[in-house]
Symmetry: C2
Subunit: 147 residues, 2 copies
DNA sequence: ATAAAACATGTATCCTGATTGCATGTTTCT
DNA sequence: AGAAACATGCAATCAGGATACATGTTTTAT
């Protein structure tokens, strides 16, 4: 019973950016802070930008930030977007699926799962444990732009 | 978001046996009925026997059947047994896990998921859609023992 | 007793799909 | 013009589940 690392990374990005919703961060900074693959993270972030969770600014001194305030970003909606396969047990390949009483039960269980996530916003999650900055890898601040 | 095929197979076995709780079935018969790997199924069933979900009778004309009436077999308990990894997003490898507000939210969501499954017995599932026998592959009846 | 049926278990191989890395393009700022 | 940073596609890799194969053990029927 697992979500993909894709979803994992997406949530980490939102948590990171949610600490300072206004600041523009580069993808490299986030990858370094967590010590994870920048290439993979870039794809996840790209997807989140297209989906409207993040706003990106291209070009030099560009970066990404939350597209909306943390209180308006729903965790359930995020998971629904990043996790595309909700066919828990591959009913698609089971021959009794058309008349299987389990499918409705599993659907209901999944609904129960998502209902909990739908009940929380990024702001709620951040409020629970606001202080994780000290656990991140140290990141050199972006060089100041010469005036 | 998926459960393993291991869990999938375990549930199919219970559904199959639940139709006729008293009858002794061979593992080969069930594998053939669903058109799935007998080897893999054997391991799953073995596990279920040890866990007390099934009763097996070895030797010639042996087989397996439910260890208890369908009403006393809980779906949540089954999934809890066959699905051993409930670390949804690999928090074990995330550096901010000790101070991450997401872990408690995910735990709560998982509890919501399992709560639904805990609310159903095999009998409940069978009652929902009792007629799937015609979807199974035809299985040659075990040769009658010569008297 | 013996053979056959059926359960039991370990090892090794295969294979899917997520993950990652590499190469290259596009945009925007200085 | 050039550097920084986002954007995208493709190929290589890797982990873990799934499967096959080989063999052992138990029980029953004759």
């Amino acid at each position: 019973m697992r979500l993909t690392r894709y979803t994992d990374y997406a949530m980490r990005v939102l948590l990171y950016l949610g600490r300072e919703p206004e600041r523009l961060c580069s993808i490299g900074e986030i990858a370094q802070a967590y010590g994870i693959s920048q290439n993979h993270l870039m794809k996840v972030i790209n997807d989140l930008v297209h989906a409207g969770f993040l706003a990106s600014l291209r070009g030099r001194n560009g970066g990404i930030r939350l597209a909306r305030p943390p209180a308006e970003i729903n965790i359930g909606a995020l998971v629904r977007h990043t996790e595309d396969d909700f066919d828990l047990v591959g009913c698609g390949s089971c021959i009794i699926a058309p008349a299987c009483g389990l499918t409705s039960v599993l659907d209901e269980a999944m609904a129960g799962f998502m209902a909990v996530l739908d009940g929380y916003s990024l702001a709620d999650v951040l409020a629970r444990r606001p202080d994780f900055s000290h656990l991140l890898n140290p990141v050199a601040p972006r060089e100041a732009v010469r005036s």
